[in-house]
């Protein structure tokens, strides 16, 4: 694949916008302690305050500072997102590439299992499991990664199958290269754009599901989460607190997901050249 992924994303307006959004979110997450004076979990005796110079976005029902909750919420969201994104790539690559190279019965079994998981709505499984085990951050990442490698494995297998037929791989084979060597040297390095798209998909889904579970009240109560903020703010929707409580949390979550969508859309045009050129928005 001789299209530069970096160039492609930079050329697309929305791709650039996506990267800027993501960088802002990462900055908010990393520098959260510098950007706010309050511990997001620390309760105070002043609940439901309106925004002021001391509390930029006011306080919530137990007197926690909403601005610092918003910043630390980015931490939770991105940690779960990136954790799942990275972790789910491992089985995706492992099963995708091995399926393509080994083929036969092994390929059939792996792909049937992957397909089976693709048709089961992942978020429902996540709700059911979370209802029982109330996962903390680490367990949640493991759970979501275990549920989200299947689509990636399929895409990677398809790409690896077409790479496998290429001249340089036949050449490597005639020189006596083993399957593992070919996978490591010739297939995985050429998966570039697919890995990025799959990674972003994984991050996006995980960010969404983390917020969703927290919204349902089955997230980790020790974590600050945009989902929890929206859930708490919803109970006070008859007051005008939604302006500085509900909306910032919802907008932060939506913007993060939109940024990721923009990046993956720009990266997809690398995968499907028919969509390139005139149609890049």
């Amino acid at each position: 694949m001789h299209i530069s992924l970096k160039k492609e994303i930079k050329q697309s307006q929305s791709g650039k916008a996506g990267i800027i959004i993501l960088l802002v979110m990462i900055a908010a997450a990393v520098f959260a302690p510098l950007l706010s004076r309050y511990d997001p979990m620390q309760q105070s005796t002043a609940p439901l305050l309106a925004p002021s110079f001391t509390h930029w976005l006011g306080t919530n029902q137990v007197g926690q500072d909403i601005w610092s909750q918003l910043l630390y919420g980015a931490r939770t969201s991105l940690m779960v997102g990136f954790g799942v994104g990275v972790l789910s790539l491992i089985p995706s690559i492992l099963f995708g590439v091995s399926s393509a190279l080994i083929g036969g019965i092994y390929d059939k079994i792996v792909m049937r299992i992957a397909d089976a998981f693709i048709v089961i709505p992942m978020i429902m499984v996540a709700i059911l499991v979370a209802a029982y085990i109330r996962p903390d951050l680490f367990v949640l990442v493991l759970l979501l990664a275990a549920l989200s490698w299947q689509g990636g494995a399929r895409m990677i297998r398809a790409q690896a199958l077409s790479l496998k037929e290429m001249g340089h791989i036949s050449a490597a084979r005639t020189f006596g290269a083993g399957l593992f060597y070919i996978a490591r040297k010739h297939i995985v390095p050429d998966l570039g754009p697919i890995l990025l798209v799959e990674f972003i998909y994984g991050v996006k889904r995980a960010v969404f599901i983390e917020a969703g579970l927290a919204f349902l009240g089955i997230g980790d109560p020790m974590l600050v989460s945009w989902g929890t903020m929206m859930r708490d703010a919803m109970k006070f929707s008859y007051l005008n607190v939604w302006v500085w409580w509900l909306v910032p949390a919802g907008v932060a979550l939506s913007t993060t997901i939109i940024g990721l969508t923009f990046i993956s859309h720009a990266a997809e045009s690398v995968l499907d050249p028919r969509l390139r050129g005139e149609v890049v928005a």
Binding site: S14, V119, V197, F215, L216, I258, V279
Partner: protein, 325 residues
């Protein structure tokens, strides 16, 4: 991106077995008394020893795991999903009571979002590269990023709280005993916001897919033929290009159904709409595990059935597929 594998009965069997196994194993793998995990702490406190013994016998909890699994499957085939303690009724009855509302909202949203997605996709793809196309693409991709429950909350605050033109919660005006036209109007009024939230949140999938295929189809030689024949623009756009662009969206209907159903779980909670989502939330609050399991089983299996039906129907919709075999 479309994941098109040829799925067959085996795939669905694996998925079905996984769903059953998850439902069966989760409560039994939890530390402590499985009865606690199945029914929750609150329910057990109220239980008499005699009732406890009956439940142990019913789930075959005093027997090896594979026998327990047999008992579990046998119960499922009898339509016995267990007993809900918080509702004091059979789980199946509790779920069936909430299901019509969810079907109404999910069905309407799925139809609306599919049709709108296809139409917008055709129009956008037809004008690819133009200002309208770009605006639609950026706009719908952004909407796609809004989680359904946030969209729902925004609609609720704007139309319900600020403007006061939509009801804040429920599916019917309580104690109004309406009938006939007034009743239908009342139902429509209550479902408008939940349906709008779900439709907007799930519009982008069909739109992006249609637009992408449209762009590819428009380059096909038969498009040139159609133009050369002097057909009108609308005939070319909808009958020649549009029809071909619809296929991928229809294959995705099963997957979209899963997403809309999952979305409904959240949106119903926002609007206190008395469907399966609201039920799930109440069950989560009261740790009524049999209900959570029952909802999961029914929803997941319906999504599987829908996917399977679409796979079976697909060759009929696209003659090329059936001839290829």
């Amino acid at each position: 991106m479309l994941v098109t594998g040829k799925r067959n009965l085996l795939t669905y069997t694996i998925a079905f077995v996984f769903i059953l196994a998850l439902n069966f194993l989760l409560p039994r793998m939890m530390p402590g008394d499985p009865l606690t995990a199945i029914y929750g702490d609150e329910a057990l406190v109220a239980m008499t020893p005699a009732l406890k013994a009956r439940l142990v016998a019913r789930f075959a909890l005093d027997q090896p795991l594979w026998r327990q699994f047999g008992a579990y499957i046998a119960a499922l085939f009898r339509g016995d999903l267990g007993w809900s303690y918080s509702f004091n009724a059979p789980v199946l009855k509790v779920i069936l009571g909430a299901l019509p509302w969810t079907l109404l909202v999910v069905g309407t949203s799925l139809i609306l979002s599919t049709i709108l997605g296809i139409v917008l996709g055709i129009e956008s793809g037809w004008r690819r590269g133009s200002k309208i196309d770009r605006a639609m693409l950026a706009g719908l991709m952004s909407l796609n990023g809004f989680p359904d429950f946030f969209l729902g909350l925004v609609l609720l605050v704007v139309f319900g709280v600020l403007l006061g033109i939509a009801p804040l919660s429920g599916a019917l005006t309580p104690y109004s005993s309406l009938s006939g036209q007034a009743l239908i109007l009342d139902v429509l009024k209550h479902m408008a916001l939940p349906v709008a939230a779900l439709t907007i949140a799930h519009l982008a999938g069909g739109y992006l897919l249609t637009r992408n295929t449209m762009i590819t189809v428009l380059k096909a030689p038969f498009m040139l033929t159609a133009k050369a024949k002097g057909l009108s623009q609308n005939v070319i756009k909808y009958r020649h290009a549009g029809r071909n662009s619809m296929l991928p969206v229809l294959t995705m209907t099963g997957i979209s159904l899963g997403r809309v159903v999952a979305g409904a779980l959240f949106v119903e909670l926002v609007f206190a709409y008395p469907g399966v989502g609201q039920l799930t939330y109440q069950a989560l609050l009261s740790r009524d595990y049999p209900v959570i399991q029952g909802v999961f089983l029914m929803m997941a299996v319906s999504v599987l059935v829908a996917n399977f039906a679409v796979d079976l129907l697909y060759p009929k919709l696209d003659p090329r597929v059936s001839h290829a075999h």
